[in-house]
């Protein structure tokens, strides 16, 4: 399947005084169709700059990129016609209502069935009952949902959401996550940039970790976790009735075992490669309650690659 976003050695530098800041530094990004892709990185990693480059709002210093097959430099207007984009810190006209603001955006996009689309989008994000509310009277969560509604107006194949849960409460973030999952089920590709792993992490299928303008790792989450396991080693957690020094010695004698950590009712065994059968053989005759491979969490992945 063709990727929806592809960049080649994309660079964007800013000059601040005498210093040159590499906001995006040689990024090669590949976002496959039909996934929820998380661009994860700390504040100031260059995520928003990268997204602005993808949308053609700013121009790169070097490198190239395509979004939905359109060149980010020469065909930015075509990209913005087709991609639903919700920028970080999006705002609307304060003295217009939710409906009036969406109609205004529909006007700018040039939609023909404005009324229908505005209603559909307001219903999708749960704002139909608040359509007469002025933007300045809305809560932060409602404002974010209106931001998503404007991105949905084009009925886009690709949605780009920049820090969509920033500033909203946990309940609002959960609703937002559910909404994104629904859109994913409808077949849309969703590209989310965030530094709030715990809010967005659970729904992602693919990620790229960005730090200091560079992508340190990217791909399917399971693949990345597997990659982390192979580079950092495999940790097995063995719960048992009695943890004895003799067991530690037995386990340590296995070639692939690098470290054995004893705790009151469990043993953690770090191995250089998958060693479950060797470990199990060494535990024959012991009263083992559970035996499992500790898989890295998304946070472990982030910690390992956001350096």
């Amino acid at each position: 399947m063709a990727p929806v976003i592809e960049t080649h050695n994309l660079c964007k530098y800013y000059r601040v005084g005498k210093e040159v800041i590499k906001a995006v530094d040689g990024v090669n990004l590949l976002v496959p169709d039909g996934c929820i892709f998380g661009l994860i990185g700390p504040n100031g990693a260059g995520k928003s700059t990268l997204i602005h480059l993808l949308m053609g709002i700013i121009l790169p210093n070097s490198g190239s990129g395509e979004v939905l097959g359109y060149d980010i430099v020469k065909e930015s207007i075509e990209i913005r016609k087709r991609v639903g984009f919700m920028p970080e810190g999006i705002g609307f006209y304060t003295d217009l209502t939710a409906e009036q603001n969406l109609r205004a955006v529909a006007d700018l996009i040039g939609l023909e069935d404005k009324d229908k689309r505005v209603e559909e989008c307001l219903r999708t994000v749960g704002l139909w009952n608040f359509k007469k509310l002025k933007y300045k009277e809305m809560s932060t969560g409602m404002k974010q949902r209106l931001g998503l509604a404007q991105a949905l107006l084009k009925d886009p194949q690709l949605l780009i959401l920049d820090e969509p849960t920033a500033g909203i409460d946990p309940q609002g973030a959960r609703e937002f996550r559910d909404l994104v999952k629904e859109l994913y089920k409808e077949g849309k590709t969703i590209f989310i940039s965030t530094h709030l792993l715990y809010e967005i992490g659970p729904i992602l299928t693919h990620i790229a970790i960005m730090n200091k303008g560079r992508i340190t790792v990217q791909g399917g989450i399971d693949d990345i976790k597997e990659k982390l396991l192979s580079t950092q080693g495999y940790t097995y957690e063995i719960e048992m009735r009695e943890v004895k020094q003799e067991i530690k010695e037995r386990l340590s004698s296995i070639d692939t075992v690098k470290e054995v950590i004893m705790e009151p009712s469990k043993i953690l065994v770090r191995c250089s490669e998958p060693s479950s059968s060797e470990l199990m053989s060494a535990l024959i005759g012991e009263e083992v309650y559970s035996f499992r491979l500790v898989r890295p969490s998304l946070e472990d992945v982030f910690r390992a690659y956001a350096r």
């Binding site: 800013y14 906001a23 928003s48 700059t49 602005h52 949308m55 709002i57 700013i58 121009l59 207007i77 075509e78 913005r80 016609k81 984009f85 919700m86 920028p87 970080e88 810190g89 999006i90 705002g91 609307f92 006209y93 304060t94 003295d95 217009l96 009036q100 205004a104 955006v105 006007d107 700018l108 996009i109 040039g110 931001g147 404007q150 991105a151």
Partner: protein
Amino acid sequence: MQMLKIAKIELRNNIRGYRFIGVVIVLTLILLAGMSFFLTLTQMFVSLPEIAPRRVPKVAFRIINSLNSIIGMAVPIIAIIMGFDTISGKIEKGITKMILAQPVYRDHLILGSLLSGIITLLIGIIPPVALSLSIAVSTIGITPTIDDVLLLLEYLIITWLFSLSYYAISVLISTISKNSTKSLMVSMIVWLIFIFILPMMATAVAMSILGPPKFTVEKRRLPDGRVITIPRMDIEYMRKMSEITNLIRLLSPNAHFERCTSNLIANRPIDYTNIAVLVLLPIIALLISFIIFVKREVR
């Protein structure tokens, strides 16, 4: 045309805002208060014809005369209030980002904003002026002549151009500063400079060039036979002083506005140099704002 669409949206937003409504109400009240001078003067001419001048000034002259000083002060403030966050406010509120997420070029965005601002200013100034004029005319019961109407129209156009100068200056400051509070402060400082500081500086500069003022003494005999001496400033000194101060004050749009309106009131032909300045100043300021905004990148 994306530019016109943006102008339409922003115009709708502007005229629904409390700021616009507040400005219209305040301006109307100020103008109505100013009109009381015109009404008093006119009533005096009507009820005491023996003290009226041989040629009672036209209705329009009297109205302009009554309102001119208030308009010279109030209109710049109103223009600044309308323009100080034209660009910075949009950036702060995230509206720029929202519009640029759509298929819109940056130049269309700023042109639409400027167009809506200029129309808002026109809509904000015309109704209060028209309302106060019509109240004045209906209260006195004088029907203005065609000449009066044309003169008032001319005055309105000059006032609008004058307001545009301040609007454009505040838009330029708002484009450069990117922060509305800072933009409002700097715009108000510019207004203070033009209204108060520049005239004082002009006098100081003139005195530093010409030296201390020269006086002559005039002796005058009073009816009771006493003789008093009155100091008079040297006429040549006063002329030179006036030339220098006027020249310096031309740096301010207020001076051009005052020259235009004083010519109107005195029934003298308008100096088109002043009009040209009032037209060119906003064009140049808005052009600079346009270039800065289009060249700037969203980060």
